[in-house]
């Protein structure tokens, strides 16, 4: 029977989640990052020509800016860009929408697994305000899309285990999740395999056979691309053996070959256990600020005691799916820990629903303990302290998202590139060539931006023309139309009249340039000078 109070409650939670994801979406994060621009232009290219910018017809793996991108987000962006145009909102709308839609899904998942309405509402509320989920909902990210389809797939998969004949949607959504993000390609088979082995007695073999046949059929192209195609290259690029810490510090650049692979095993285990570090979970896992202590972890600090209660609850209370929740967390971290990052919040996002489930169960357990306390003073003190912890955590998260993150991490999102590109496009006709230096950075020239993608994106460059156009790629320079992407050497370039130069103060040193030659300065939100636009006179 439909309970209107519950519907209103769930709707309120969804509205809260939508507000947190859609509010000021185009300006925070402060700029589109390289991947977002690439996703957007690939989708635009598909919309206009049915081909990606390299001329491939409806590809399964998109070759873009030195990487192979998963197809699902790009295809999902096509209607969004058709509707809202090739702009910030058009690119970010899809992930924000899927972020909001994940809220009712986690509600359904917890309800399916535990049949506990309270835990389901708590889970939905926690996901609605989860910094991890909000962060990845606010820019075009395939991590979030993959996790959305994972949630959807698991709901049907669990129903399948419970005896419902949901093999088609389960297989379909899990397969889509595998197409959505790289981590899922390893996690989904591992998880399905372990679940089926652990629940082999309670499952109808015929349903599972059908499920397995469908999912294998659906992922055959993916298996082929992963084993023999370009995705293999991508996997090798990000694999743990390429890790700088491993090569430079552990095996010392192959100083002595023997035992390297044994060390790799222990290095991997270290990486795996890193994901359980408290600073990643509660202090600075999202890397949204420059400070470790005043940063934001993937979970709120007030969730720490609830997580502990949840773990105790999982150990003490035996319910049917507890082992699956534990497996979800442990197996979910395998793909992320196998890659060459210390800790990657994006690659490990897929374990968030499982963590939310544990925290929800912990909340219920915590409330039970509080309710059973007879000493009023102790009860009041604990509640007051916990409320204070919640309030300060939420205020801190609000400040990080709305103030510190755009202020401190603008550069990570290529802030300023849009302004340079718009200037170049406006003044294109006045110059014979426009040169962009791809290297930027405030403290050092350590960030490689891909300005040509921004040029394509903001000029809405005709994809058909770009696909067929002759692109020069010589002497480290990439040229198309009037644009050249190359390093600027001001000692030589200062004599090139009629050319517009756009670069960071590292390549265009202010002291060596006449004031009349500087046409514009572009600053980050933090006030640091990011770019100079210069034309020699």
């Amino acid at each position: 029977m439909i309970n209107f109070r519950n519907i209103i409650l769930l709707t309120s939670i969804i509205i809260l989640g939508a507000l947190l994801r859609f509010n000021n979406l185009t300006n925070n994060p402060p700029s589109l990052n390289i991947d977002e621009v690439a996703y957007g232009y690939s989708a635009y290219s598909i919309l206009k020509t049915g081909k990606d910018e390299n001329g491939q017809f409806m590809p399964i793996a998109f070759r873009s800016i030195g990487d192979y991108k998963s197809p699902v987000l790009i295809y999902l962006l096509v209607p969004s860009i058709a509707l809202f145009g090739l702009n910030e909102f058009g690119v970010r709308f899809v992930t924000a929408l899927f972020g909001v839609l994940s809220i009712p899904l986690i509600f359904l998942l917890i309800k399916t697994l535990t049949n506990d309405s309270k835990a389901s509402f708590i889970g939905a509320a926690l996901l609605a305000i989860s910094p991890w989920h909000i962060y990845y909902s606010r820019f075009a990210s395939d991590h979030l899309i993959g996790t959305f389809f994972l949630l959807l797939g698991f709901i049907f998969f669990y129903r399948l285990i419970q005896g419902f004949k949901d093999y088609l949607p389960a297989a379909l959504f899990l397969a889509v999740s595998m197409y959505s993000y790289h981590s899922h390609r390893l996690f989904v088979p591992l998880f399905i395999g372990s679940t089926l082995v652990l629940n082999r007695k309670g499952i109808k073999p015929s349903s599972i056979k059908t499920f397995l046949i469908i999912i294998i059929m659906l992922i055959l192209p993916l298996i082929f691309l992963t084993l023999f195609g370009p995705l293999n290259t991508r996997a090798q690029m990000v694999f743990l053996v390429q890790d700088i810490d491993y090569t430079r510090y552990v095996i010392l650049d192959h100083i002595e070959k023997s035992g390297e692979y044994f060390l790799l095993i222990f290095f991997w285990i270290k990486r795996f256990l890193n994901y359980f570090q408290v600073d990643f979970l509660f202090f600075n896992g999202l890397n949204m600020t420059n400070s470790n202590i005043l940063g934001l972890g993937v979970l709120h600090l007030f969730e720490l005691p609830l997580l502990i209660f949840g773990i105790i609850h999982l150990i003490r209370k035996k319910f049917q799916f507890r082992i699956l929740i534990i497996l979800w967390i442990l197996l979910g971290l395998i793909p992320a820990s196998l890659t060459n990052n210390e800790q990657s919040a994006g690659r490990s996002l897929l374990i968030l629903p499982a963590l939310i489930m544990v925290i929800s169960l912990g909340t219920i357990y915590f409330l039970q303990i509080i309710r059973n306390l007879t000493n009023l003073f102790v009860k009041t003190t604990i509640l007051c302290l916990f409320t204070f912890l919640i309030i300060t955590s939420l205020i801190h998260a609000f400040l990080v998202f709305s103030v510190y993150f755009p202020y401190q991490q603008g550069e990570a999102f290529m802030e300023g590139t849009k302004e340079t590109v718009l200037y170049a496009l406006e003044n294109k006709d006045n110059y014979r060539e426009i040169v962009f230096d791809p290297y930027r950075g405030i403290k050092a020239q350590n960030i490689v931006s891909i300005p040509y993608m921004y040029l394509l994106f903001y000029s809405k460059y005709d994809p058909a023309k770009f696909q067929s156009e002759k692109k020069e790629n010589q002497d480290g320079a990439f040229k198309f139309d009037k644009f050249a992407i190359r390093r600027i050497d001001w000692r030589e370039d200062r004599y090139q009249k009629g050319v517009l130069f756009i670069g960071s103060p590292w390549s265009l040193p202010e002291k060596d340039i006449k004031d009349s030659e500087i046409l514009q300065k572009i600053y980050l939100s933090s006030g640091d000078l990011a770019f100079l636009i210069v034309s020699p006179k």
Binding site: R248, Y249, V250, I251, L252, I255, E256, S258, G259, F262, L263, F266, I269, K270, L273, N274, F276, Q277, V278, D279, F283, T289, S291, I293, L294, L301, I315, I391, T392, I395, H396, F398, L399, S402, V403, Y404, Y407, Q408
Partner: protein, 389 residues
Amino acid sequence: MEIVKVDKFLFFFNLCLISIHSLFIAFLIRTLYPIHLMGENLFYADLLAKPVVIPLWLAFIFSNINVVILSILSQFIWNKRQGLILPILYIFNPWSTYLTSLNSFYIYLTSLILTMIFGLILVKSDYRKIGSIVFVLGGVLLLYSSFVMFIMTPLIIMGVLILKLFNKNDIKNLSFWIILFSIPLFIAIFKNPVGWANIYRNEVNIYNGSGHLSDINNFQGQAQAVGFKFFSKIAENRYIYFVKYTSLKIIKNLTPSTYFTPQEKLANFSFSPPIFLGFLLPFLYGVYSLFKYSPAIKFFGVSLILIIPSLLSKQFVDLNRLVIFSFVIFYVISYGLIRLYQNKKLSQRIIFLLAVVLVIFQFFVTFSDIYLREYPRFERTFGINFEIR
């Protein structure tokens, strides 16, 4: 006296342990020499402005004394066969061996702490006289040796009193003797307040050097600029910051990956884990069993005081200082291993076997890695400055 009448087996067993431990230390010294940790002055000598540093050969002796005390202690706690595990864990894991070979001051302090515990157990086992002497000797030497221990020893005694682990009157009497013998130390402190302040500054670095206040000011300034001064004052003031910082430090010092992976580097450069990873599962099982079955959980609670020196350090986790807590971890692992072994369930037998296999495997990998790469690793980290601060 029965305590002196150690049977032949245990005598030879301890002799074997000492030999193996010495071999490991010699191997590490041979591999890593002349790398060493910066020497720390004895507290009392420092106050008298006559610095005295524990030499390597003494650290070597104290490390072997630790093996013997642990062996005797574990015989008190468990039966003969099970009691062999604790000292074996101590010598086979890289932590103490590594730090001994680098001449860690905290190996010596570990001996004194173990001596105190040994004294208390003797007192409880009705060897009151000898137990009291051992306890007081350990306590007094501890106070005279290290400033941090000067702060911690009263805390440990208070913890023992509060949790009623031992007879209240016994502890009071023993504390009285410790205080009495420490009068010269108090006089030295009283006479040299400047020296005391300097030692304090050197030893206690919990909030030093990481620009905490400037972090808070920057954040508050940014929030103020957009009109969120009030919110920022609530959520980002210095009190909350320090609570967060301290909590993070405490939790990091109690996180298993600190002990079982090279997450925190031994002597700031090594890739050897303090304790082999294979012991992680027995450790977790040991913690679980302690909470569920054992009255020893109170001892475990008091022993957490031993992480204080690491908390007072500049680093988040200081494995050198934390080595005084190592025997507690080894105790929990031993307990976990014993319970796993006693349990007849197949799953727990498998965990036991897995742990053993993984440990043997990692033992060879680690020691070959130390032999082949640790010295170049050190050079890559610190260059040719062989003293680690």
